[in-house]
Symmetry: D2
Subunit: 281 residues, 4 copies
């Protein structure tokens, strides 16, 4: 039996309440089951060509869910804030073509209904991990929720944020480690891979990793993606762009289409070493 | 001339755009002027007696603005979440009696209008410092805004959050240092008093300090309050309760009525040593 | 070409000065070459039986170097401080039997000569990463040095510490990531696996990982060990004890002999997936 | 009675063992008594003129103890490492003239005897706070010790480091808060002024503050020095240089002679407001 680690786990998130683990069904794709799931796509939807080319490529590379920002939380009011509903429409169009379910971020309680009408899964970003009205609202929406760890949040707080959603009757939650803020400045954040086995121990919810935000550096993403698989994550979410140098946001951490495809073949080998299903491509 | 400190200050928040500094007018009380302003009151409004007794006492002790939570952001969904609009009504009633303007927290874009109809100043809490839709909404409200630093926000991000509000045409913003998250666990947070002279250097906005959240420990509040005055802050916001032991939230860090009154007389002496106006009580 | 990451790398540690990488020869075992090297053994040497049983077991499990503390840096003066020279003698004896080279920690400039007369590699611990007289002394000793990252040290400072040793003419240095201090408290430290690809990018020195100190929790060590291999480390150092429950130090993070053997077979599979040599056992 | 703060205080450092507090006698100057003590001087002794001019000036400004580095711990092996014993001789000479006791840093166990033969107080720097052999050695030396908090040391670890010295029979220890490492980068460190009341609560040892290292910025030193006095410290240690622009180390954070004198007159006013003795100048 594993020892107590001094974290008070809220009741509905507690693994003890569901030892077999929760499977999250994203329009037919199961996260938290036997298969390791990769979510990929651009930081932000910029235009039809960028999105469609990227989506087709990540699909053929083995991605199972498409990501793409429509409403972007940006530190500066002067940065590109996303295409809004136009982006949602493009995401919806490419889903029809590729069959890939779509996840996109929601930042405002007033947007939940609109975004839920387009997306297959709602993302609550790091900056909103403790935005309680938003957590309640996505909890009521009954859509699966991708909940990212706040860059300043302890695992206990992370689980309490999930509990806000669970407490509305929605248990379709995927937790995402995406790097925490530390004193180290050579990487954008410090990816806390220990969080994966710790969360798997504490809660029944599936756990994925975002090595793109976790490092902020494209060339480091493959190494950390492999480590995330080896450490026991249920999947990955990664930023991929058909032309990273020209990206309107997060270009420095976005994989090119080729880099993504190459990484997926490396991940395939590791998946076999750890006996985890990983698509058939 | 002071040297560059490597922070990129956004244009509207930049001190260079208004060397004389911004004065924030909270229904007749000026923050950022010659007077050192104390904001005090309970963490949360719990009932009429608690609020009224506390408000009368902090007023006679020298407080100039009343604080009191109506909608509370709590880490756990099972903690007391505030009295909501009933609290707003009580705050409005005691304002009539005491003349103290009222500041209370807003967490949801959908609440801004309601809360603005009762309060003299809107507080955006630490957890919402990067809730951009909320920043835009309070920016449009034209009410003064008390913006608290995120517990893991850099000063650059803090200024960018203020810029979101400024960018909506609202320059009535008070910045509040309230402790940051560090490795040290003996205090709830680590109060970063260096942030005060640094912010005063970088921006024209007034800066106050919250030693209650900054320490989490009632007995430490007076020492840090005095330090905040000495370091050059424009004011303080402190939690005061007529019966801290029985408080529904933050009792451990709330001053009793007597402790508050005693602290104010100590602050009076320091205000004279540093040539800062400080009420007449 | 990889982009600049804003770190000023000192000249002798800089990868650009030796693109092919440095191989460290620990009495015949090469770290930084094609083989992934595991260093294992007890936190502290406690007695002959404990050391010998553990050493024989890790050797048969595939470890290539034996660790064991003789002089222990302990936070409290009242904790077990190590067996001193008696431990060095025992380490020397078991080396004769097993053929495993020995690494042990040195804390005091005055001990370097004594410890170097017994050990195959000198360890400079986290707390001494910026103990410059000690760095100079081990630099002059010409023994290989296992330099652990300070729990508070940036990668830039880590490389500067290595530069102190290099500057004495000793290039036989293995860098070890062993967890940094962050706000997260559920693990003893936060293992910073991003440090591995970053260090491999910046310097020619080999890099290993210590998942025992990095997590502080025995049951998490295997997950992080696998992640460390997948992320690209040149090896691991792990605490193993023949009876962890009774260990005089770090029992909570020490693997049992069985856990170690099991982990090694899992690592073997991953080594094949990433095309890295890994013993023959 | 103050509540428990979850820190396990070692027995000899515990305030409960000496409620009245410890007075440290530095060759006639008492730290931890009724008088607020200022220690001032250059980061490093560079030459006779620099040291003597600075020492004379800080003495006339009200400093009671002279600081000056002879052996300097520098992050890079290529930075100025101090004048060594020549600096000790100069410090000794200017002590004769001014009567100011001298504190200087010791980094190596082998230097303790030499430095103790010149200095009135031994400084153990941040990087060596957990250098246990050094702590034991200064504990045996019977000289007063100025122990600086490690830049990432918890208060519990800080007290345990002091316990190493106390455990050798030396209770003449001054604790110094000098800034901790956090995610904030606009200042060199984050000065943790909460540490002062917390340490005064937990231990009987006197506590002083170093606003020079705490901020790294000359223009911020006066604000934080005043705050340190207001928060309840027993004194300050500050870097002062007769020509900061030309300083061989820490020029950016060194006060000029004029700035120091001006600050001392401001501190005088605050000392009266808080009823603390502060020289007669």
């Amino acid at each position: 039996m594993k020892p107590d680690v001094g974290i008070s786990v809220p009741s509905k998130a507690d693994r003890k309440s569901r030892m077999e683990g929760t499977k999250v069904n994203v329009s037919g794709i199961t996260v938290g089951g036997s298969e390791f799931i990769v979510i990929a796509g651009p930081c932000a939807v910029e235009n039809k060509d960028q999105l469609f080319e990227t989506a087709r490529s990540v699909k053929s590379g083995g991605a199972r869910i498409l990501r793409g920002g429509a409403f972007k939380p940006r530190s500066s009011p002067y940065s590109f804030q996303g295409m809004g509903e136009d982006a949602l429409k493009l995401l919806s169009d490419i889903r029809k073509e590729t069959g890939l379910p779509v996840v996109t971020e929601v930042m405002d309680t007033r947007q939940v209904e609109l975004i839920a009408s387009y997306a297959d899964m709602l993302q609550v970003g790091s900056r909103n991990m403790q935005n309680y009205p938003l957590l309640k609202e996505v909890g009521m929406s009954k859509k699966p929720v991708l909940l990212k760890r706040g860059m300043m949040a302890t695992l206990e707080e992370f689980l309490l944020a999930a509990e806000y959603i669970l407490n509305q009757g929605n248990d379709q939650i995927i937790l995402c480690e995406r790097g925490i803020r530390t004193f180290e400045t050579s990487t954008r954040n410090t990816l806390d891979l220990s969080a994966v086995p710790m969360l798997k121990h504490l809660t029944h919810l599936p756990v994925i990793v975002d090595p793109s935000h976790g490092t902020g550096l494209r060339w480091m993403v493959p190494s950390l993606a492999k480590a995330a698989m080896a450490v026991g994550a249920d999947g990955l979410i990664m930023e991929v762009h058909n032309n990273p140098e020209a990206a309107l946001c997060d270009g420095a951490q976005s994989l090119s289409l080729e880099e993504f495809a190459l990484l997926m073949t490396d991940l395939k080998k590791i998946s076999m070493a750890i006996d985890r299903e990983f698509g058939n491509f």
